[in-house]
Amino acid sequence: MRIVVLMKPVPDPVAASERLRPDGRLDRANAPAVVNPNDEYALEAALKLVEAHGGEVTLLTMAPAAAPETIRKALAMGAHRGVLVTDTALEGSCVHSTATVLAAALAQLEFDLVLFGVDSTDGGAGTVPAAVAAKRALPYLSAAGKIEPDPAAGTVRVRRMTPTGYDLLEAPMPALVVCTQALGEPRYPSLKGIMSARSKEVRTFSLADLGLDDGSVGGAAATTRLTGTSTPPARGAARIIKDAPAEAARQVVDYLVEKWIIQ
């Protein structure tokens, strides 16, 4: 199986160093970049699939030129190679151009499955996967809790998680799957993986390589505009209940009922 995993470098959420520049864009220069945590779940799912069915995993990233440093961790986890789309014209891309560029890059790659994370910790739109599926006319299998390909039949079954259980979806391959954390905790990179990560190929595409011109994507063609930012209001003081457990539980329930959280 040939699997492409989308991988976005994001400012490390643990370092809590996300800051906006005066123009409202993320200050990426001053925040250590890591792989978007949800994309690691997608990679874990992909690695399990190739362990079971054979095949290879390719990472696809649209990011600044320093991205190989970040995706090397994913290569150390076991991905076979990386593809990076980078071009100064891409700065300020909106969801629409991100999807256009990623769709154009996918046109250069051969794959049976393409896996996305649910959303990113920085942009957080959660819309890039659907947009790419639409642009490439791929079956869109979202909220996957389980992925079961049948390479012989050329189909894939996905459990789409719902609030009450799951739907069972089946689609012909190639197909696009959005991966949830229900697929399993990402593995640690292995020592061997770390030592071999740098020798794995990371191919770079510019916009010209993908047949796109800089007017059609990137900041120049943004379809949305950031009009302002604000911080959420500070949280009020917490109410701490210190009574005996039975009494405390009663008060918690009363409070939740009062707030219409339970009935």
């Binding site: 440093e69 090397r72 961790k73 150390a76 593995r187 640690y188 990179p189 292995s190 020592l191 061997k192 993986g193 770390i194 030592m195 990560a197 740098r198």
Partner: protein, 387 residues
Amino acid sequence: MDFELSEEHQMLRDMVRTFVDKELIPLENALGPNREITPDVMKGIQAKTKEMGLWMLDVPEEYGGAGLDLMSRCIIDEQVGRTSLFHWHWYPTFGPALRPVLLHCNEEQKQRFLWPVLRGEIRICFAQTEPDAGSDPANLRTRAVRDGDDYVINGNKRFITAAGESQYAQLMAATDPEKGSKGGITCFIVDLKAKGVTVTESWPNITGECLWEIALDNVRVPAANIIGEVGQGFELGQKFLTEARIKAHGARSVGAAQRCLDMMIEYSQQRVTFGQPLSDRQAIQFMIVDSAMEIRMVRNLVYECAWRSDRGEDIRDLSYMVKIQGTEMVTRVADRAIQIHGGMGVSRELPLEHFYREARAVRINEGATEVLRWRLARNLMRKPKRS
């Protein structure tokens, strides 16, 4: 000069740091009252480290180990040092502990000792210290006298880690007392079940661990159990000791001290006394800043040493400095962290008192700090002056 770790070393650090934060530190809450770790939990940890390839870190690749450079091992030890799960002088997190002397085994001995140790089937403790020879092992009294194909050994060993859980001891005995450390001491592998051997547990020490005593009364040991040459016992352990000072005493102290510092900063900002957070008080700020400076200095020294060692330089003297500075620094930092945490600081609920106790013990074993200072002084004064 480049003070950045290589990309591989950074990835290794990040991987082990995540592993420690996600898998090891949470286990601290599940420890028993004496902070003991159950065999089941240890097996779970080992399954994970093995999968990550962090297995038998010191062991060369030809014997199935990771064969890591000293830099990598220091990076790992610094991170693992942040947990209070293990005693500092040995822990089986990354597989069976190999006494590096065993790498000097001949082919026949490898089958009997080296491979079974690597497979985890047997354990071998290190028995050098005696009631009358600790810092000064050249003076050891245990005698081995040749008798046909055997040696007959008489003497007493004490403060031996894990002797009760070991099948064999790597035992140092005098074959030529006149020569002392210069060719008079030989390394034997002694079967602890042999006739004339008595192993007894002594009082628990400050770390909560019990060390062991070994009495040898006319114990016959085949000459085929000598590792290396007769009289070579002393030299064999040297490289190992130098490395141990850097990673076990240096890197691990840095990790423990860093955890203490992180906890001091966090707690001092939360804890309010007399209407102000502790972190607003200069007395507290100075403790934090002094700790941060001292940690940074030792960390730089540790990694300089590892880097030089990996380039093949002789770092014996530097390793003394690392051991002295590392263990004394972590003692001070843990002490301050306990002070800032008040009554909670000395509670077993927090890791601080564990760090404090471990730090106290490691200032004595593998070269007491005074002995190392004295050696350093001698070497410094002997060397031609150069500035």
